[in-house]
């Protein structure tokens, strides 16, 4: 797990978007297991789940419909979607239109994509925005499980996360040397 840190505007989000291929790098290339990602295309993207600043959920659709869509677009995991919603404490809202949920609930639904799809690399941009303490520790333990399954996480966060120190590396951006 790599945590990218640095002051506002130092390029954390840009770095993550370059890693996803959403943004072109000015120079250099991104390799996934030795191959450049623009050549791998779909073979790379089925291994990646990205949760950015925007939640990427449709407000007119229900929670379940949103997760089904996320599955259809990526690599579906074996987990039952009701179980996924239960894990992120949204079970009661399965059929509710997302537009009527709170910001924190939408964030939890966006992060539920991580469980609905079966991907190796999680790229997360400020995943804990609008989350309460209980949800933060719940997702921290999910991250830990993912790392134990040999998964990879690259994230930015201004929040302190309680994860075992040996599995976390830090990258400082925007520091004057």
């Amino acid at each position: 797990m790599l945590v990218v840190e640095g002051p506002n505007g130092c390029g954390k989000t840009s770095l993550l978007r370059i890693l996803t291929g959403l943004r072109m790098a000015d120079g250099g290339e991104i390799l996934w297991r030795g191959d450049p990602i623009d050549r791998l295309a779909g073979d790379y993207y089925e291994q990646v789940t990205y949760v950015g600043h925007h939640d990427g959920v449709k407000h007119e659709l229900s929670c379940l419909e949103n997760l089904r869509l996320a599955r259809a677009m990526g690599m579906p995991s074996m987990a039952d979607l009701d179980d996924v919603l239960e894990q992120v404490n949204l079970y009661a809202y399965g059929e509710t239109e997302v537009g009527s949920l709170s910001a924190g609930q939408k964030r939890r639904l966006a992060l539920a994509r991580l469980l609905a799809t079966d991907s190796m690399l999680w790229i997360l941009d400020e995943p804990f925005t609008s989350l309460d303490k209980a949800s933060m520790s719940m997702f921290a333990s999910l991250f830990e499980q993912h790392l134990q399954r040999q998964g990879l996480i690259v994230m930015t966060s201004h929040h302190d996360i309680s994860l075992p120190a040996q599995s976390v590396q830090h990258l400082q951006l925007g520091m004057q040397s």
Binding site: L22, G42, D43, Y45, V57, H59, E60, M73, M78, D118
Partner: protein, 228 residues
């Protein structure tokens, strides 16, 4: 081991999702159709009691209105997806983006182009268009409106990242719409006068196949640029 959906399944899934979204945003999607009907209804009122003139210019009126209605609806193809971040998720999908784009454009046509086809006979009758020309009118709308959606998608994809892209979008797309307008209106006019129309229809079909095969790729590339 889990398996990702086949390409056809992903296509159908996204198409159904867009149709569902359109169903839940009915008012927004009814606008272009309402515009189409209103513009055409106003012409007889403005031109007065001149049935021959009206019948003569009916193909032009219907096609200009269809063109403007299509322009009006274009922004909705990618706007909301861009604003809420769903577009990023589509670009990061494991499936080829061009195919997903084609699904979105198909949904857009089913919601905005197909209704025009359905109300066109009524409006043609109202303008007094000769019965002989009506099948040709419907055929040109059937072939022409998908071209409008496909070409328009490229323009929207290029301008969706701009805050005030509306004007640039119309400047960008309208010139590309003109050939469709010319061939479609001329086919209908020829049919009204009892002439052969196959040349124009073949041209329209050529445009259609050209845009089906090229537009999704151009749109996908433009979306990547807009998202970065």
């Amino acid at each position: 081991m889990s398996q990702r959906l086949s390409l056809t399944q992903a296509f159908v899934f996204l198409l159904r999702r867009d149709l569902l979204l359109a169903l839940r945003n009915r008012a927004e999607y009814a606008m272009p159709l309402l515009f189409f009907v209103l513009v055409i209804t106003l012409f007889p009122l403005a031109l007065g009691a001149l049935p021959e003139l009206l019948a003569r210019i009916a193909p032009g009126i219907i096609w200009v209105a269809a063109l403007l209605a299509a322009m009006l609806s274009l922004d909705s193809i990618f706007r909301s997806d861009f604003d809420d971040g769903s577009l990023e998720q589509i670009l990061l999908s494991a499936h080829p983006v061009a195919v997903l784009v084609l699904a979105k454009v198909s949904a857009h046509w089913l919601v905005t182009g197909l209704p025009l086809l359905i109300v066109a006979p009524l409006l043609a009758e109202m303008l007094g268009m000769p019965a002989a020309a009506q099948p040709t009118l419907l055929l040109t709308i059937l072939i022409g409106t998908p071209i409008l959606s496909l070409i328009g998608a490229i323009g929207v994809a290029l301008t969706v990242g701009l805050r005030k892209g509306g004007i640039i979008l119309s400047l960008l797309v309208l010139p590309l719409y003109v050939p469709v307008l010319i061939f479609a209106a001329s086919a209908t006019e020829n049919a009204a006068m009892g002439f052969e129309v196959s040349a124009q229809i073949y041209m329209l079909l050529a445009f259609l196949f050209l845009s089906i095969s090229l537009s999704p790729w151009a749109t996908a590339a433009a979306l990547r640029m807009s998202a970065s």
